[in-house]
């Protein structure tokens, strides 16, 4: 049954993406803008899930990778006026380098220490952005002169296409032999090592892939926003949102993480009339979800199909 479901998942996903692609024909630009952001967040959450759900490493600093990608792309565009696409590629590359610098020493430590190191990395990045305000725009944010497109529909399609492509790659990776080894080394590193797999190498690869997609998505997001600020791409609370999205959607499902992110962003928008209580309600729902449905939406659905 599980195998059948997985094969069917591809078709379900394809139908959903095609349906989603027709949205610009009949919904307002406001909804499209909301979903565009949600899709980029979906990529953040999927990239995080690859690291946590499969490699078993808790990365408390997804925004370190996102922020490095976003700010590199933004600064290159702002200071040197390089073409948008080169900036985005450079942003992704910078995120990969930053991921390597962070992961090489961090992976030597286990459990909470890894999480702590990644959290400290975010705080450092945040401080540097504020200190080097001339370059980064500081607390006010960085203005980005260029955008990919001003058309809401085009931006939406780019985001949707990017998310779908990332989902295929990340999901494919998680189901491949490499994904299995990652899962094994996450759950029992000693046994996986005893089977002859190089755990550090695999985890490092997972970190690099995660960093690449986080950075790429972060760079695309700033070119959609036209601005990069600490509050939107670096702050710890953004990272928390990414983590909550992934756990809410379902760990070890990759696709669930994207669903969780879309849910969180859309729910936050629906709760806007409640004003200051919106964050409170979202946190409460997320807390109840991780306590009572720890496997997340997709995880719970999958286990129901299996039984």
């Amino acid at each position: 049954m599980a195998g059948l479901f997985k094969a069917r998942l591809l078709w379900i996903g394809l139908v959903v993406v095609i349906l989603a692609a027709t949205l610009p024909l009949y919904v307002s630009g406001y909804v499209l803008g909301l979903l565009t952001v949600a899709y980029y967040f979906g990529v953040f959450a999927m990239a995080w899930d690859l690291l946590f759900g499969f490699a078993g490493e808790v990365n408390f600093g997804p925004t370190f990778l996102i922020g490095v990608g976003a700010y590199t792309a933004g600064i290159l565009d702002n200071q040197y006026g390089i073409s948008v696409y080169l900036c985005i590629v450079a942003g992704a590359a910078a995120a990969v380098v930053a991921g390597l610098v962070l992961a090489l020493p961090a992976l030597r430590v286990r459990g909470p220490y890894f999480g702590l190191t990644t959290l400290v990395a975010v705080l450092m990045l945040q401080n540097f952005i504020v200190v080097f305000a001339d370059l980064t725009g500081g607390e006010i944010g960085l203005t980005i002169p260029d955008v990919i497109s001003i058309d809401a529909g085009t931006n939406y399609w780019i985001a949707l296409g990017f998310m779908a492509l990332s989902a295929v790659i990340l999901y494919g990776l998680s189901q491949s032999p490499v994904g299995l080894i990652l899962q094994a080394s996450g759950q029992d590193p000693v046994q996986a090592g005893a089977l002859g797999f190089n755990i550090v190498k695999h985890k490092l690869a997972a970190f690099v892939v995660s960093a690449f997609f986080s950075g790429l998505s972060g760079a695309l997001l700033v070119f959609y926003f036209g601005t990069a600020s600490v509050g939107t791409v670096v702050d710890v609370s953004v990272g928390v949102q990414v983590i909550v999205a992934a756990v809410l959607g379902g760990r070890r499902t990759v696709l669930g993480a994207a669903l969780g992110a879309i849910f969180l962003i859309v729910a936050g928008e629906f709760l806007r009339p409640t004003g200051e209580l919106a964050t409170f309600i979202v946190s409460t729902v997320a807390l109840l979800a991780i306590m009572f449905v720890p496997n997340g939406f997709l995880g719970a659905a999958l286990s129901r199909v299996r039984s």
């Binding site: 959290l119 705080l123 401080n127 200190v131 909550v244 200051e276 807390l287 306590m291």
Partner: protein, 291 residues
């Protein structure tokens, strides 16, 4: 003169940091829980003390007591409502309990923070100090409140040391941090040990929160930075090592004060973070941590 000023100011800040981080590290040492709602509980205590003073017109002593009591209740509620259900849940695999407790307490902290912001706004609140006035120490004008803060912090830490090392309850707590199963075999209920630890933590975080409210003032925005600073001090000192966090608190406190006085207040947190990164690279278990 400047040297003396840095020494005095640094001491008060460090003592406050030490008090805030001690409870945090105690819980980790005994039950392996990193409580990320720490900052929220500290701010809650300060805001409760502030509200008691300015809304209910209670005296400063009563206000401070209300603040500490609020933190105590919040800590126990955190344990029974968030931490224990997650630890006992059969749906969460054992090796993932840690991340669930982290995420759970983090969300819980955000909930407390948002409620504070909703009912008492985001504005900074300064609790009326218990001791007022200024004294001169060898020519340096120092607020009495600053000295009061340092003295109370040191006294409370001493008391804690006595409690852990000299009383029967303290010894059970210490034993539980070394070998939980051994303690249960001796007939102690682990849950009650944890309740004791969380109560101690609540009182410590409450006192630290109220003192912080008197010394620097708090707002719901301080929640994140407070958790982060307790976190970095505890990591620097070594997770679970109380003496390690005391040393680390003074290192961080003085580093920040030195930077604030000699370089610029804007950069005050950076050297401590750099030191933290350096320590993580060279000695990931922290100054006095065990792995």
């Amino acid at each position: 003169m400047l040297v003396l000023q840095i020494l005095i100011d640094g001491f008060a800040i460090s003592a406050l940091y030490a008090l805030g981080a001690t409870g945090f590290t105690l819980i980790f040492g005994v039950s392996g829980v990193l409580n990320l709602s720490h900052g929220a509980i500290m701010v809650l205590a300060a805001v409760a003390a502030w509200a008691a003073g300015s809304v209910l017109h209670a005296s400063t002593y009563v206000g401070a007591l209300i603040g500490v009591a609020t933190a105590l209740v919040a800590a126990i509620v955190t344990y029974f409502l968030i931490v224990q259900p997650i630890q006992r849940s059969s749906k969460i695999p054992h090796e993932e309990k840690e991340i669930f407790v982290l995420t759970g307490t983090l969300l819980w902290g955000i909930m407390i923070q948002e409620l504070i912001a909703y009912f008492f706004t985001n504005n900074a609140k300064t609790v009326l100090p218990i001791v007022e006035g200024v004294v001169s120490i060898a020519g340096v004008r120092t607020p009495s409140n600053e000295i009061f803060t340092a003295v109370v912090c040191c006294l409370v830490i001493l008391l804690l040391w006595g409690l852990v090392n000299r009383t029967r309850t303290g010894k059970v707590v210490l034993a539980a941090s070394m070998n939980p199963r051994g303690v249960t075999l001796l007939g102690y209920e682990l849950t009650s040990v944890y309740v004791v630890v969380w109560s101690i933590y609540g009182v410590l975080a409450g006192i630290a929160g109220v003192l912080l409210g008197m010394f620097l003032g708090v707002s719901s925005y301080s929640v994140g930075p407070l958790t982060a600073s307790a976190f970095s001090i505890v990591v620097l000192g070594g997770l679970g090592s109380v003496s390690g966090s005391l040393i680390a608190a003074f290192v961080v406190g003085y580093l920040e004060t030195l930077t604030a006085y000699l370089v610029s207040p804007a950069y005050r947190t950076i050297p401590a973070l750099l030191l933290l990164v350096a320590v993580m690279y060279v000695r990931p278990q922290g100054l006095l941590g065990r792995r």
